[in-house]
């Protein structure tokens, strides 16, 4: 395991040395990797760092407010409201890969503008060791701003946690007093709720996914999953009161994992599952049924798209 205090000192010195008196930008997602990278860079260069958080409208309930609070100590934090631009761009898009592409392009456009405004010479990224291996193997590209260096000619890219594994980054986060990033926020994918909606992303489906994810996170908290959420996977028939409903099917997922590479579907108590079902169907008029996903990874992935 990593010696956190020594790591923090070394990483801070390295960043300060590399960036000097220039300006840098970091895309802050609220996830543990970018949060740690941002906190280290902020220690190193203070307000020469502009952390940028883009609210895509695909965020979880309370996410943007949480970010604002957690990172209030960074005076240079920029929060960009880009909801309308993202939803417009996603309109009519149903293919999962196309969705990711549209969102990735959207991020690049937002950060291109912000980087120019901040007059940034350096890009700081929260790339971790497995990201590098997976990117080299072309399994998937990891960063929302992965294409940013192609549109902006940065002097350099700084990746302070590039040699760490996820659980080690979490240790460093704790040592940096970012406890709430580690304990109160589960892993959340870059494309946000868009990958928890099968088919086109609409405001209606986003509302269902956001509320349902919130219910799941609350109800499973005592079972301490590695990740838990709900996805809107289709439509089916139900009956509410004496009326037929053709409403959304919400799939609930709660998994145990060390590193996200493999995962076990949690053996949740029936009462917990029933409470989740009751709240999601009761609080959302247009949800017709709730199912629980019992598939491990492999063969399934953790997220749906």
């Amino acid at each position: 395991m990593v010696d956190t205090d020594a790591f923090i000192d070394e990483a801070t010195a390295e960043i300060a040395d590399e960036i000097g008196d220039k300006n840098a930008i970091i895309a802050l997602s609220g996830g543990v990797d970018s949060s740690v990278a941002a906190a280290l860079a902020y220690r190193a260069i203070g307000d020469q760092l502009t952390p940028v958080y883009v609210d895509t409208g695909l965020m979880r309930k309370g996410e943007t407010e949480g970010i604002r609070e957690t990172f209030a100590f960074m005076d240079s934090l920029r929060i960009v409201d880009a909801k309308d631009r993202f939803l417009d761009a996603l309109s009519g898009v149903t293919d999962p890969e196309e969705k990711r592409h549209v969102i990735g392009e959207g991020f690049i456009r937002e950060f291109e503008r912000e980087a120019k405004e901040a007059d940034a010479d350096y890009l700081v990224q929260g790339t971790i060791y497995p990201d590098r291996i997976e990117s080299e193997g072309n399994i998937k590209s990891h960063h929302n701003v992965g294409g940013l260096p192609e549109v902006i000619d940065f002097e350099g890219i700084v990746e302070p946690v590039r040699d760490l594994y996820k659980d080690e980054v979490r240790e460093v986060a704790r040592a940096l007093d970012l406890e709430e990033v580690v304990s109160e926020r589960m892993p959340f994918p870059g494309p946000g709720l868009a990958v928890r909606i099968i088919g086109e992303v609409t405001e209606e489906k986003l509302d269902v996914a956001r509320e349902a994810c919130h219910v799941v996170e609350e109800e499973v908290e005592e079972h301490d999953p590695w990740q838990a959420f709900a996805a809107v996977i289709g439509k089916a028939t139900g009956v509410k009161g004496d009326n037929r409903v053709h409403g959304w099917v919400v799939s609930v997922r709660s998994v145990e994992s060390r590193d996200g590479m493999t995962a076990r579907a949690q053996d949740l108590p029936w009462e917990t599952l029933q409470r989740i079902q009751s709240r999601i169907t009761g609080e959302n008029d247009d949800v017709a049924r709730v199912v629980y996903d019992v598939t491990h990874k492999p063969p399934a992935t953790i997220e749906y798209e």
Binding site: Y129, P130, I133, E134, G137, N138, I139, Y165, S257, R258, D259, M261, T262, A263, R264, H296, K297, P298, P299
Partner: protein, 182 residues
């Protein structure tokens, strides 16, 4: 220091094999599977898993280097096909939880896990014929040849993934293999 490198066959768990070795305290690295054998100054090799038998680079040559080799998933299937065994599509894909029964408790790499070990797997194909000189060392309900060994040449194959967190006793398997490399 004992040096064991991981040959990357483009598997999603390659970096976890690296981590298992690093955490066990050996000197390790991940190398491309096109690295010339003469550039590998090592005491042992791990052949990673991967998606495709057509992208195994120079793995066949690494089996001739006279150092212990641990083939994981596709890495084991490479051993079988490059020597004189055979691989075919299994009847039943092995995914996630599998209970493996050790059939050779004297095997240096999997023997100490006897009688049973719970593992995490992810494969459609499997070894259906052992190469000459190999012993069948483990089996399960979803895959007959879960592991094989040629202890004389120090070549070992396991169909499951000892490097992932959900495999019980994965660290012990790596420790056993590292002993063969010292």
């Amino acid at each position: 220091m004992t040096r064991i490198v991981v040959v990357d066959n483009h598997g999603q768990f390659t970096h976890l094999e690296h981590r298992a070795l690093r955490d066990a305290g050996v000197d390790t690295d991940i190398v491309d599977n096109t690295t010339p054998p003469e550039d590998l100054d090592v005491d042992g090799l791990v052949l990673s898993g991967g998606p495709d038998m057509d992208r195994i680079g120079r793995c066949a040559e690494y089996l001739e280097m006279d150092v212990p080799v641990l083939g994981i998933c596709l890495g084991m299937q490479i051993m079988a096909t490059q020597l004189d065994g055979a691989v075919d599509a299994g009847d039943y894909g092995g995914y996630a939880d599998v209970t493996v029964r050790i059939v050779d408790a004297d095997d240096p790499v999997v023997g100490s896990l006897a009688p049973e070990t719970r593992v995490w797997a992810s494969h459609a194909d499997e070894v259906v014929e052992l190469p000459t000189g190999f012993t069948h060392t483990a089996t399960s309900d979803v895959c007959d040849i879960e592991a094989m060994s040629d202890a004389d040449r120090d070549l070992y194959g396991v169909q499951w993934h000892p490097e992932v967190a959900h495999t019980e006793e994965g660290e012990e398997l790596f420790a056993n293999f590292i002993e063969r490399c010292r």
